[in-house]
Each structure stands twice: as C-alpha cells, then as structure tokens.
C-alpha cells in the first residue's frame, strides 16, 4: 500500500505536466488558427484572383461557377460547396472574355497546379499561370518564369471538332524552337518532364472542360449565373 501511494505521488507531477501543457498548448493553437484563418483565406483568394486576371487579359470582373458532373449542369458557386469550380472573366461591358480553368498533374518533383484561360470566341488558350509547383529551381521552375515558354499559351489552338467532343488537333509538346503549328507547345531544354507535365495537364483538362463550356456557353455568358 505504501509503495502504491508513493508511485502515485511520483506519477502526479508527470501527469500534471503533460496534461496541463497539452491543454494550454491546444488553447493557444486554436486561438491562433481562429485569428489567422480569415487572413489566410483572403490571401488564397487574392492569389487565385491575381492568377485569373493574369490568364484572362482584359477581365475586370470574375464570376465563379460550380460544375456538377452528375447533372451535367453549372450553378453559381455555393460557399464551401463540392464540385469543380470554373471561373469566368467579364470585360467592363459585361461581355465574356474567357473562362479560367484549374488543372493539376504530376510534375518532376511533386504535383503541379496550374490555371489557364480559354477564350470560347477564339477557341484558344490565352494564358497560363503556375499556382503551385516544387519543380527544380533554375530548370523545371522555368515553366513559371521562362517568357518563351509562357508565350506558348498566349494563343494555343484548342479548336473542338464538329461533334464537339474532342480537339481537332491534340495539344502536343515539341522540342524547344521547333514549334510550327498553333497547337504545339515549345518545350524547355533541360526541363522536358516539367514541360510534358504542363502539356498533359492542359491536353487532359481541355478535352474534359471544353465540351462542357461549349454546351453551357449561354449560361456562362450571363454574369452571376
């Protein structure tokens, strides 16, 4: 009995210290999360908006739509709702400039996330920005910084065929400096895998999204659904 009491007395300070610290630390973390969450959300939204304005030149207002693949329908975005989001840019006259579509795929190091702008009028990709990547500095990260590579996405031909279910010419990657057709992407020397990743992401994403945009273009042309 005496032994048990003494072991309990020895345990109490340990218990007190671990549980006490745990509780205090939890309270601190919860407080900081609550304080910083609005600023972090705002930062994420700002970054997204900057990217959208960049890939849809001439845009002054942005609308967001959620696509429900089950119902094959677009709806205006519900806060926190599920489904994939598509952003639509309008010029000062309220005319549709284009749609901004997010895409992601495996790069050389890690997942790459991009957003690209598509103009239904011109049937071309009109801009591309990398949102998240951990590609090799100086090599793979030139998908973000190399102006020659970025120039591929100013007028990339992604015309749909007559049935509207596939591209007339699939987007393809060629070696640096060998681009001859509007649907080709000039790769970056030394960053073939990263360039290929971007090409695949866009090729895959346009074949999924362009038919949807085409089918629902009348709805997307109206700001705010």
């Amino acid at each position: 009995m005496a032994a048990m009491t003494s072991s309990l007395t020895a345990l109490w300070p340990m218990y007190r210290s671990l549980v006490g610290l745990g509780v205090i630390c939890t309270v601190c973390i919860v407080a900081v999360v609550m304080v910083t969450t609005p600023a972090i959300k705002q930062n994420q939204q700002d970054a997204m908006h900057r990217a959208i304005f960049a890939v849809l030149p001439g845009t002054t207002t942005i609308g967001a739509f959620t696509y429900d693949s089950g119902a094959d329908a677009f709806s205006t975005v519900v806060q926190g709702g599920a489904g994939s989001t598509l952003y639509v840019g309008y010029d000062p006259q309220g005319q549709l400039v284009g749609v901004a579509i997010a895409a992601e795929g495996q790069g050389y190091q890690d997942k790459i996330k991009i957003i690209y702008g598509y103009s239904p009028d011109k049937q071309t990709v009109i801009g591309m920005r990398v949102i998240e990547s951990r590609e090799t500095p100086g090599l793979g990260d030139r998908i973000e910084t190399d102006s020659a590579f970025q120039a591929n996405f100013i007028a990339l031909d992604v015309r749909l065929n007559a049935q509207g279910n596939d591209l007339v010419h699939p987007v393809e990657l060629v070696k640096s400096g060998q681009k001859t057709k509007a649907w080709q992407i000039d790769g970056i020397t030394g960053a073939t895998i990263s360039s290929q990743a971007i090409t695949d992401m866009i090729a895959h994403s346009v074949s999924t999204w362009l038919p949807r945009v085409r089918d629902h273009i009348a709805q997307l042309e109206q700001p705010h659904g």
Binding site: P13, M14, S17, L18, L21, G22, C25, C28, I29, V32, V33, T36, A39, I40, N43, Q44, A47, E132, R134, T136, P137, G138, L139
Partner: protein, 210 residues
C-alpha cells in the same frame, strides 16, 4: 556585479561566433542546407527559428522546476511544437508565397536540434533572463549563418540578393548554387574560412601572451 554582467553578456555573445550553432556546433543542418537558396527564404527561416527558440527557452525556463525530469523531453517538444504551429499559421497569414517557398521546413523547426538542444542544455537549468539572452544569441547566430548562406547562394545562383539583380544580364547564373548541392559547397567554404580565422586569432593570442 561586474562578473555577473560579464556572464550575461557572454551568454548572449557566445552564440554569435564562438559557439555559432551552424558554423561551430553544426546543428540544424536540415534548414541550413535546404532553405538557403535565396536570401529572403533564409532570413524568414532564421527569424522563425529565432522566435520559436526564444519562446521555448522562456517557457522551459519558467516551468523548469515544475516539469519532472522523466517527462521533460516530451514536455519540451510539446512547447516547441505549439510555437512552431503558431509561426506556421502567422507566416501563412502574412504571405502565402513565402509559406510556399519554405514548404515543409517551417513545420520541421520542431525537430531542429538547436531548439531542443538549448532547452535541454541551457533553459532547463537557468533562470528566464539568462535563457532569453541565450536564445537571442543563438537565434541571431543561426539567422546570421543562414543569411550568409542565402545571400551567397542567391548571388551566385541567380545573380541577385533579396531579389535585387546585382550583376549585368550577361551574367550566367551558376544554377548548381541554388540546387541542394550548392548548399553543401557554400557551407563547406564558409566553415573553412571561419575555422581559418579562428585559428589565426588563437595563434596571435598565444603569441601576444608569450
């Protein structure tokens, strides 16, 4: 009194050079090598570590008589992890880009042996004031070392420091310097230089005494 003041000054100064956490103690090599590819990243990482080190030293020192020695490591880690989480969220709130660049390394401050090392070796045995000085000294020494590495690597690897281009456009950057291997090269050269300086100082001190 004079002696005591000298001791507290020494508590601060030792971390800057004589016991510099990076160049002399070779602690916390993971962030030293991984995030010093630009001056901004290096400075942010250094300041984040300084903050966590300062706060954990204060807490550990205040609670040093309250935490039983059997569970001290777990308690220290709990304290450190809490402050790291706070820093992680604050950096996200300040700048997402910065947070993106530092990646997982902010969370990894938890396992930076510099911080646990100072908690165990110093703060758990000294009163709060000395622990603050110790943390400031070690943290500044760590930040200084990271900033040296970051500036050199960014200058050679990208031709700029803090994003300001310092070389003409004709400069061909040494990409290797901002890749992981560049971290090892820079650290090696810096340690060579610092050991050389220390040796010379020791030699001239010995001569003047003789």
């Amino acid at each position: 009194m004079d002696n005591q003041q000298a001791t507290s000054a020494d508590t601060f100064i030792k971390g800057l050079w004589r016991d510099n956490p990076v160049f002399v103690q070779v602690l916390g090599m993971c962030p030293v090598l991984a995030v010093t590819n630009s001056a901004v990243n290096a400075l942010t990482m250094g300041l984040a570590t300084l903050f966590v080190l300062l706060m954990s030293n204060i807490m550990v020192s205040l609670l040093r008589n309250w935490i039983p020695k059997e569970v001290r490591i777990a308690s220290f880690i709990l304290i450190i992890a809490t402050f790291v989480t706070l820093v992680d969220y604050v950096i996200q709130a300040i700048s997402l880009d910065l947070h993106k660049n530092l990646g997982a390394f902010i969370s990894l401050i938890v396992v930076n042996c510099l911080i646990l090392g100072r908690a165990e070796a110093f703060a758990s045995k000294h009163p709060p004031l000395s622990s603050v000085l110790d943390a400031l000294g070690m943290g500044t020494g760590f930040t200084f070392a990271l900033l040296c590495m970051g500036s050199i690597r960014e200058l050679l690897g990208n031709g700029s420091v803090f994003g300001w281009a310092l070389f003409a456009d004709s400069y061909q950057p040494w990409v290797v310097m901002i890749l992981p291997s560049g971290g090892f090269f820079t650290l090696g050269v810096l340690m060579l230089v610092i050991n050389r300086i220390n040796k010379r100082v020791a030699l001239s001190n010995a001569r003047s005494e003789a």
